[in-house]
Symmetry: C2
Subunit: 274 residues, 2 copies
């Protein structure tokens, strides 16, 4: 069977031995950050952006990475060579470490895992349905490990026949738990929320691609704006560009994947695979 390796600090361990002692602050107090990126044909995709964000998250949470970006890249290359999974997702987690009193920060523990992943190939690539929920993630610009609300809300999503949740604050839309949110207006203006969000790496790429052809901006988007939109979509490393067909049971545009959405999806795929 598959014997994938996991890095914990400087050790390579088989997956079924990769563990953290229970006094780690992630287990004790949910204190940790991470980042996640793809490999395609063995190549790291947008790795610099992801590593920059990883270092940013770490510094916001007062967690010392203990390695330079280049050292981290070497370690990642070593892991990829050992595991030999050409199309994969790599996750780097940094926790608050083994805390003496279960509350104070200690020397962080770094965990790096790699698993098979072919992004953008999920079943619902035809489009998803969102439901809005009033919530703001804690420290939204930091990629903490906190997805408590997102997982807690899942039965409610099923009940309401929705695929994912769209967070808003008093009607002002921010993000999906693991994705960013975009709309396309009837005049083909493309917009995404700029505040109270995690700035996604795919979001950044899509903003760039979109800006090369359409009027594109970060701006406040309200639930009411979505009802008037021609298209809507989400972006993420796992989902790439995914059409949104419904929000709160209301159809977006024609109720089918939008033209601009699909053009952006294709442009991004080309960028990733070339």
């Amino acid at each position: 069977l598959n014997s994938r390796f996991v890095i914990i600090n400087d050790s390579f361990l088989p997956e079924d031995k990769a563990a953290l002692l229970v006094n780690d602050l992630a287990i004790q107090r949910a204190y940790g950050i991470f980042d996640f990126f793809r490999t395609v044909n063995g190549k790291f995709i947008f790795a610099d952006d992801h590593l920059d964000r990883f270092f940013y998250s770490a510094s916001q949470m007062r967690l010392e990475v203990g390695k330079t970006k280049d050292e981290l890249k070497e370690l990642l290359a070593e892991l990829a060579a050992k595991n030999n999974i050409p199309d994969s997702g790599i996750r780097i987690t940094l926790t608050g470490g083994y805390s003496e009193d279960g509350y104070s920060l200690a020397k962080p523990n770094m965990v790096i895992t790699q698993k098979p992943l072919i992004a953008g190939k999920e079943n619902n690539a035809d489009g998803i349905r969102l439901i809005s929920y009033e919530h703001r993630r804690q420290l939204p610009d930091v990629k903490t490990i906190d997805y408590i609300m997102a997982i807690w809300l899942r039965p409610w999503l099923l009940q309401n026949i929705a695929d994912d949740v769209l967070y808003h604050q008093a009607g002002k839309v921010s993000e999906i738990p693991r994705s960013n949110f975009f709309i396309v207006a009837h005049d083909n203006k493309v917009a995404t929320a700029g505040n109270n969000i995690l700035k996604g790496i795919i979001r950044k790429q899509v903003l760039k691609i979109s800006g090369s052809r359409f009027d594109t901006e970060e701006k406040d988007i309200y639930l009411d704006d979505i009802r008037d939109a021609k298209e809507a979509f989400i972006t993420s490393t796992t989902k790439q560009v995914l059409p949104v067909l419904q929000v709160d049971g209301q159809q977006i545009g024609t109720g089918k994947p939008g033209e601009i959405t699909m053009w952006l999806r294709e442009q991004l795929t080309q960028l990733v695979y070339d």
Copy 2:
């Protein structure tokens, strides 16, 4: 040296071997709950209340404990017998388990630790200084492992010469990250916040003790009310009853531990030690 045992699910492990695989949802997504209670002279203190709350938290998060309360008590007694730490803190944690996809709930992992603890004996028993911060814990009535904001705020506390943070929402006070908050008015009325809080077990005992002698109620408390208060204090399993001498740099009452506060502290100590 000390070889304390930790329970993971049904196994007793020495502390330095007590670990969870890194695909546990606590490490992946901060998904878990816990409870924490004391032993005094080997006796479990208010254990029924803590276990009831533990089962409540678990059910709110869709985590199966997989044991009855009685089975859990037997397990705890076995641990206490092995560890032989008469005055201790026992923590029971329940996580989202080893998740295949790092997002979906799996069979929960239960972790039980025991460490020496003599509660209410901390250095600052003379009284603490609080600083207010606008925040509401996610799912406040559930004892999740999420203390991200509390730990993130610690340098800011130091900077502002405060010992802990008092959460409020638009001026309405809720709680301290690991404690509940009470005020005593000049007419000796005792009050504590009733909403957006974790209902502490010591809070419950103090409400009972206080109600036997003073007009005592759960009600909305605003930051302005604190400025007019004669006394203020916090309650928790670790701190028992601890006077609050300052909030946001403003002295409470005489700036010394209040009479009613100290009477409640003494009554609680008697209850625990008798």
